[in-house]
Symmetry: C2
DNA sequence: AAGTGGTCTAGACCACCAA
DNA sequence: TGGTGGTCTAGACCACTTA
């Protein structure tokens, strides 16, 4: 036999099937998957092969495994999602993260700028919703946040009555959009007029600017978020290995 | 039988043995390890168990595996090490990294400041070596870097005649200190006098400050590095999942 | 006690590399 | 051609959870 040209290991094929099912919502976030043996029987592979696929999913935070209980589709709960993508911490604490409070959000529906459309891979003139809010640390304003999302992915999101502290749980629970990866770019800039107003800092102060593209399980570019941080009392902390 | 109180899975014990041997230099960077079967026979476990330990080491970048060839102790070569810990990129390029050139380094032997001693877990009054250099991107000064290392870990490092572009390859090849993890804290600050001189930027310009603690395979705090970046043309890029 | 994930084994075969 | 890592299987037993 000639080798099959686009050969894929069995466990990879199983992995792909499981990802598709989760993406399509066949198993909802928080729900339990069938057991390893059940999946193995259904897909006609051995339990060890299913295991390898599930372990990969767990390593990517798509599922959570609990000995004795089962394998669950990962849920963007408040605390969980917060600590996964929110990387601000107090200095010199070896990465002990902060729980930020957030003020009321302000929504605006408008046409995407050229730059936003490019970053979000949207057609020119697409409608987006802009969600602005300020986050507090220890009761003080520390981060001004602007999230821009395609209206098409999140219809009527600007008419949600209460936006949660972590938008990603809303994306997931209401719109079935599962954020699994964020690409961030950090730079230092000077405070602009909006920063002075939102954060109450002096003109000319340094501001840490974080631009994030959030990617969904389907590879969609679901959100463009720009955070501007007053880093006098907090830092962006990350381990690189 | 009662359960053993501090039970460790076999593969974890194998993993620990292998880490210790690599840390002790029994297998040097770039050298090949014994095959899975050979290790399994020596340690009296199955090949699958060795495999799991080796896969874990590979996931942590401690070894590199090559089908048909063998398993090699990871080496901090120039390009490799550079792209692993150097996270600067051009904006909007989805993380395509930059290869920075570096100017001649200046070394100074001195006593650690209180802050440095605290961050490096050194006793008060310990001697350190400070290594300063400027990195260029596209021929322009972009990053001013200050590395502080304990003299005890790196004797006579200030008398090395040529410091490589990536210090970590020197730490590994000359001193046997293997950097495996870096903890970074980022903040935005204003340019100080030194920045003006080193980077040629205006006073009052925003500067991205990166403070990094580099940890060795033994858990030693091997280096405290402070980088100050002019982020007008480059950004710090990272994926968080 | 039953069911789940976690560990461990032994052995087969495949894909890749070097001599 | 022989040796290496990569895949896959089947089955045993352990540890943990829930009923």
């Amino acid at each position: 036999m000639d080798p099959i040209p686009d050969f894929q290991p069995l466990y990879k094929q199983v992995y792909d099937v499981l990802v598709r099912r989760i993406a399509e919502g066949q198993w909802q976030p928080g729900q339990v998957l069938p057991s390893e043996h059940a999946l193995a029987a259904e897909l006609h592979v051995s339990q060890g092969t299913v295991r390898k696929a599930l372990d990969t999913l767990a390593a990517e935070n798509l599922v959570q495994r609990h000995q004795g209980k089962g394998t669950y589709v990962a849920e963007h709960t408040q605390e969980h999602s917060l600590f996964r993508f929110f990387r601000l911490a107090r200095p010199n604490t070896d990465g002990d993260r902060i729980t930020p409070e957030s003020t009321d959000a302000r929504c605006k529906r408008r046409v995407a700028t050229a730059a936003e459309a490019a970053r979000l891979h949207l057609p020119k003139g697409a409608t987006v919703v802009e969600i602005k809010r300020v986050r507090l640390v220890d009761g003080k304003r520390a981060v001004s946040e602007k999230a821009v999302v395609p209206l098409k992915l999140f219809p009527e999101i600007d008419h949600q009555d209460a936006l949660p502290n972590t938008l990603y749980s809303l994306y997931q629970s209401v719109y079935g959009v599962n954020i699994v990866l964020a690409k961030e770019e950090l730079s230092a800039v000077l405070a602009n007029q909006s920063d002075e107003k939102e954060l109450g800092i002096e003109p000319g102060s340094p501001v840490l600017r974080i631009e994030r593209i959030a990617l969904s399980i389907n590879g969609e570019r679901a959100e463009l978020r720009t955070s501007r941080c007053d880093t006098r009392h907090i830092v962006y902390a990350i381990d690189v290995s």
